[in-house]
Amino acid sequence: MDSNTVTHYPPPPPVIEPGHTFESVTEKISRIVLGPSHPVGWFITLGIGFLLLNVLMVSVGYLLLKGIGIWGNNIPVGWAFDIINFVWWIGIGHAGTLISAILLLLKQDWRTSINRFAEAMTLFAVACAAMFPLIHTGRPWLAAYWLFPYPNTMGVWPQFRSPLVWDVFAVGTYATVSALFWYTGLIPDLASLRDRTKNTHLARLFGAMALGWRGSARHWQRYEKAYLLLAGMSTPLVLSVHTVVSFDFAVGIVPGWHATIFPPYFVAGAIYAGFAMVLTLAIPFRKMYGLEDFITMRHLENMAKVTLVTGLIVVYGYTMEAFYGWYSANQYEQFMIYNRMTGPYGWTYWMLIFCNGVVPQTLWIKRFRTNTTWLFVMALIVSVGMWLERFVIIVTSLHRDFLPSSWDMYYPTFWDFSTFFGTIGLFVTLMFLFVRLLPMISIFEMRTLVPAARVKGPKDPTADIDVTFGGG
């Protein structure tokens, strides 16, 4: 596009506070990893996370000993917390790749300060999610390999018509590609850590991880190519994973599951949850490590905007569900909606509407968008809302399906909760270890944002294009 149109946009605030040099950026980020001391908040949170992680161990151990019966699941409610948590975590695991890949392809340079730990978050969320498809089965020791197609002495294959098999591949691929993407991005930074550390053992460790990166022109050229390719690969995955996850339900005939709107509605929900989680993490981190000048208000505001947009899509999804329910003229669908809103679990539905529908609307107003405390709280509320969304979809649809005679209630047990909070523990532990052991912000990419880097070379006009609606 020609420069005239560009000039119509108000000049966007900088993505990095002025006054930074290559050196200062590198120093500031790598100090978090190499520096001797660490904020006390880190220790406390990690402690809590680790505690919960142990709760998870116990819960899963007991589960393997006794069976699914320790949870509240029953007939008709065959799936409950297990699959809710699965979908919730996998949803959260969307933002990372989205931010890194799609925003990279869109040349949104504001992504650089958040993409690294967003990717890490993705990996850890997927790790939490990937646990459930396995442990929610009655005989995980068999499910672990019977779900994979391999030539076997039984002469039988998995049943490829089942969405659960699709899940295995979708999640598997997603996890692999995200991991590669994340690691590739790390390589140059690992190299700089290698070069900066005084400790020879660490140096060797980082060195090994840096795979012999020397920062030669060839390296950079190959690197850019590889990184771009991976970005290209993971972009469709962002859409495919949650689409496939939504098939777990859409393929079923259960009223409240059997809907064509599920794929887009799930993907939007996932990005929504993902961004909320990024905010939940970014805000404390930037405070804890004084990164306000890297993760600027502009970042938070942009994320808030994305959250608002995806939130609106999700609300559209709810509206459509209700509309279809009524419009279908199908007594089961109609009852399902009626039961969701007024049934014994009605409160979950209205809480969901409040969390996901009402609260984010505050983001239309700049004052809220730029208030970190509110953003943090809002992000937490949205996470709760997204969890409730899965509860509503799974439990309230199942507990009263077709034959009134088989209607029943579902009550979670202690072990349902301990498993759920346990996974949060796993997530927190991994996340906090990550920020301690690896650069949570991409050093070399931040360097490209330093003004010194900007002056060189022809400026790409699209580089500054930004989400600029709203802005109260």
Partner: protein
């Protein structure tokens, strides 16, 4: 600062990539082979029995028909292990003093059953039925091997599910005329390639769909 790695490490790192791949492949291979091996399927291994009963001698040598001992093979799922009485039918006359037969005599005397070790043992969730296989022209030797040449009984076939399916998916390859079922020496006539297909027709053997329905063997 000085190099922290020796320049050779490049080659090591490259090799290690190859190494990982090779290692993974070998591991998979080993597991698979172990799984299929006789160790796992108990194929071809002799098992200790209370009496060194020789099928080779009784069937191969004396030419005793299978059904003389395995009486219910044609009417029941279970082929029946002969009661001590059956042994004594002859051995009250011959080899009456043979020390090797003492356990048999003891069993008959004190009315305490002999305890044999299973050689062909399918999992409990498999409901195999001898009578129908015998009726439909599956020879004893087809699954049990050349019993008449086995001094001690051993399991010749792997008895894995895919092994069962080989026949259930294409019975024509394996079945023989009913009158040849108990014939250990029977061989598929080379001059009559159509035999199998014809028998499947004549014996009105179930469709492959029926033979491979899960509930045919599992309940």
């Amino acid at each position: 600062m000085s190099q922290i790695f020796h320049r050779h490490s490049n080659i090591y790192s490259r090799l290690s990539i190859l190494g990982v791949v090779l290692f993974a492949l070998t591991l998979a291979g080993v597991v698979a082979m172990l799984h299929l091996s006789g160790y796992n399927t108990r194929q071809n291994d002799y098992v200790e029995q209370p009496i060194q009963f020789s099928h080779a001698h009784h069937v191969g040598g004396m030419g005793i028909d299978c059904r003389y001992c395995h009486t219910t093979v044609e009417e029941s799922s279970f082929a029946n292990i002969p009661p001590t009485k059956t042994c004594m039918n002859c051995h009250s006359q011959i080899w009456t003093g043979a020390p090797i037969l003492e356990p048999v005599r003891a069993s008959f005397r004190d009315n305490t059953p002999l305890t044999w070790t299973r050689v062909h043992d399918l999992p409990d969730f498999v409901y195999f039925n001898h009578s129908i296989h015998v009726k439909q022209g599956v020879g004893c030797a087809t699954c049990h091997g050349p019993v008449d040449k086995m001094p001690l009984m051993y399991q010749q076939a792997p008895l894995t599910m895919s092994w069962c399916l080989d026949c259930h998916r294409n019975p024509a390859r394996y079945i023989r005329p009913r009158d040849q079922v108990f014939n250990m020496a029977w061989e598929r006539p080379a001059d009559d390639p159509e035999l199998g297909a014809r028998l499947v027709r004549d014996y009105n053997i179930g469709s492959v769909e029926q033979l491979t329905s899960c509930s045919t063997c599992h309940r």
